[in-house]
């Protein structure tokens, strides 16, 4: 039996009443747990790390939350002067309707009336910082709105630099003319729910077969030069053994597919039951499984902790897809800072970086001659290839009432726009475990 060891102090919320309470990272054996006690509702523990990589090495010298800091977090959330990161991406819900009924859904679609186009346009004018903003149109499922092309062009007119569509891909597959209109309106790229390479996974998570539709959606987006990043929700026992296959599929679909953005399941919104540790999938496990399931083609050392958000919130890997395979560009020792705990990156810089990779810049042409073997070390070839076939492997671990860590929340750069307020994503969708 291992002796529990407190390795970090932070603040969290009671999963039942959502009050702000002290919490600790406690190491027991090879696992690290976020543990906390509410005077009213008792003791709670959630696994947050399984030590495939030492957690201390991953977090580096990230500042800890002090006793007198962020006292109104998360109750009064709407980013305040104490928030430690700017807005990288703004999420705007344009509908609560959806054409799927998933077992897991952070937004828990409710099928209420859509906000009017005029209302959405007013929000876009409010949220846009001309020349900078990356707005994610989300929902519900945004493509259920026939006026989505008008919303996209309004976002561009308001000055949004990038317009991202978060979609399950169904209408993108079934209505190519609609995809054309989205492209013409100025859509920058799509984040498409894509949980795995077989329909058994789709049936378990989404209730229906979707794979053929997803493939068609990728094809339709490619026809209009819209980059697609695949977004799997990772659920232990459902698709965590499909990571290697999924990455091989995505790489084979480059340059139409721009990357894979993994989201370990989190338990807010619509979830089947209160989470136990066995149904949690930690970032370090994901990284380990990526290396093992790709047989070392993608290595853990090339996936580096987020420096825009908190390191425990995600990672990113930057690659270029070559005719013979994938080459890493990012790595622990290619960063200008030290391997971990280097200076946080501004939201502006982060946005510019990710958008550069996710957007298809021009219709790619073969970037090498027919007679010579492409060589990534050739400066001219590299510059062409990285623009056409850049590929990202990223992850974002959303927090729920069980594992909410305010040290992480105060570094959040993904903000939901709600009636003039910018609210960190995990604070916005936070729901208590009584499911009220």
């Amino acid at each position: 039996m291992s002796i529990p060891k407190i390795i970090r102090s932070t603040y969290s919320v009671c999963p039942v009443c959502l009050s702000r309470i002290p919490a600790q990272h406690v190491e027991i054996g090879s696992n690290v747990y976020l543990q906390k006690k509410c005077v009213q509702h008792g003791f709670f523990s959630s696994v947050i790390w399984r030590s495939k990589t030492p957690i201390g090495e991953w977090i580096g010298d990230t500042p800890r939350i002090k006793k007198n800091e962020n006292l109104n977090c998360p109750k009064a959330c709407g980013i305040c002067p104490e928030h430690r990161q700017g807005t990288c991406c703004v999420l705007l819900e344009v509908t609560s309707r959806c054409n799927l009924r998933c077992k897991y859904c952070f937004a828990d679609s409710r099928n209420t009336d859509d906000p009017s186009l005029e209302q959405v346009q007013a929000w876009l004018r409010q949220l846009a910082v001309p020349g900078k903003t990356l707005v994610q149109l989300s929902g519900g499922e945004p493509t259920v709105r026939d006026d989505l092309p008008e919303i996209i062009s309004s976002a561009k007119e308001a000055g949004c630099r990038y317009v991202q569509l978060n979609s399950n891909g169904i209408r993108l597959a079934e209505d190519k003319e609609f995809v054309r209109k989205l492209a013409e309106a100025g859509l920058s790229f799509v984040f498409m729910q894509f949980d795995g390479t077989n329909d058994e996974i789709n049936r378990k998570l989404r209730g229906v077969d979707l794979l053929a539709l997803k493939k068609q959606a990728i094809e339709n987006c490619a026809a209009y030069n819209i980059g697609v990043t695949l977004v799997p929700t990772m659920v232990p026992g459902v698709n965590t053994d499909n990571i290697g296959e999924l990455l091989r599929f995505a790489i084979a679909e480059s340059p139409a597919v721009r990357g894979v953005h993994f989201q370990p399941v989190s338990y807010f919104g619509r979830i089947p039951e209160r989470p136990v540790d066995e149904v949690r999938y930690t970032l370090d496990e994901l990284i380990y499984d990526i290396e093992v399931q790709t047989k070392g083609q993608i290595k853990a050392k090339n996936l580096i902790p987020s420096r825009c958000d908190h390191p425990l919130c995600g990672f990113h890997g930057d690659f270029v897809v070559m005719p013979h395979g994938i080459e890493p560009l990012s790595g622990k020792y290619t960063s200008k800072g030290d391997c971990c705990g280097s200076e946080p990156v501004s939201a502006d810089k982060n946005r510019a970086f990710v958008a550069r990779r996710w957007e298809r810049q021009v219709q790619e042409q073969e970037s090498h001659s027919c007679c010579s073997k492409p060589d990534i070390h050739d400066m001219d070839y590299f510059l062409k290839r990285v623009k056409s076939h850049g590929f990202t492997i990223t992850a974002m671990a959303f927090q729920d009432a069980g594992n909410m860590d305010l040290e992480r929340l105060r570094r959040c750069s993904l903000h939901v726009f709600d009636n003039g307020r910018f609210v960190p994503f995990c604070a916005y969708y936070l729901t208590g475990w009584d499911m009220t």
Partner: protein, 64 residues
């Protein structure tokens, strides 16, 4: 090469000739043709290369 100017090595007084030269940045290496002294190996890196393609390579590689 940007133009056809003849450039002479200040040490060896030999004309620089285009050669494949490797650069290293953040653990990656790249080559391109630039002017190099055939005797001592001194290279001439024109400003447009520094501000153009080399800067672009830096931007593409820099960790976000």
């Amino acid at each position: 090469m940007a133009d056809n100017k003849v450039i002479i090595c200040c040490k060896c007084k030999k004309e620089l000739i285009p050669k494949k030269v490797y650069f290293k940045y953040l653990g990656h290496s790249f080559f391109t043709d630039i002017l190099k002294c055939p005797d001592c190996g001194e290279v001439f890196i024109p400003e447009e290369l520094v501000k153009g393609r080399m800067a672009e390579v830096e931007m593409q590689l820099e960790d976000k």
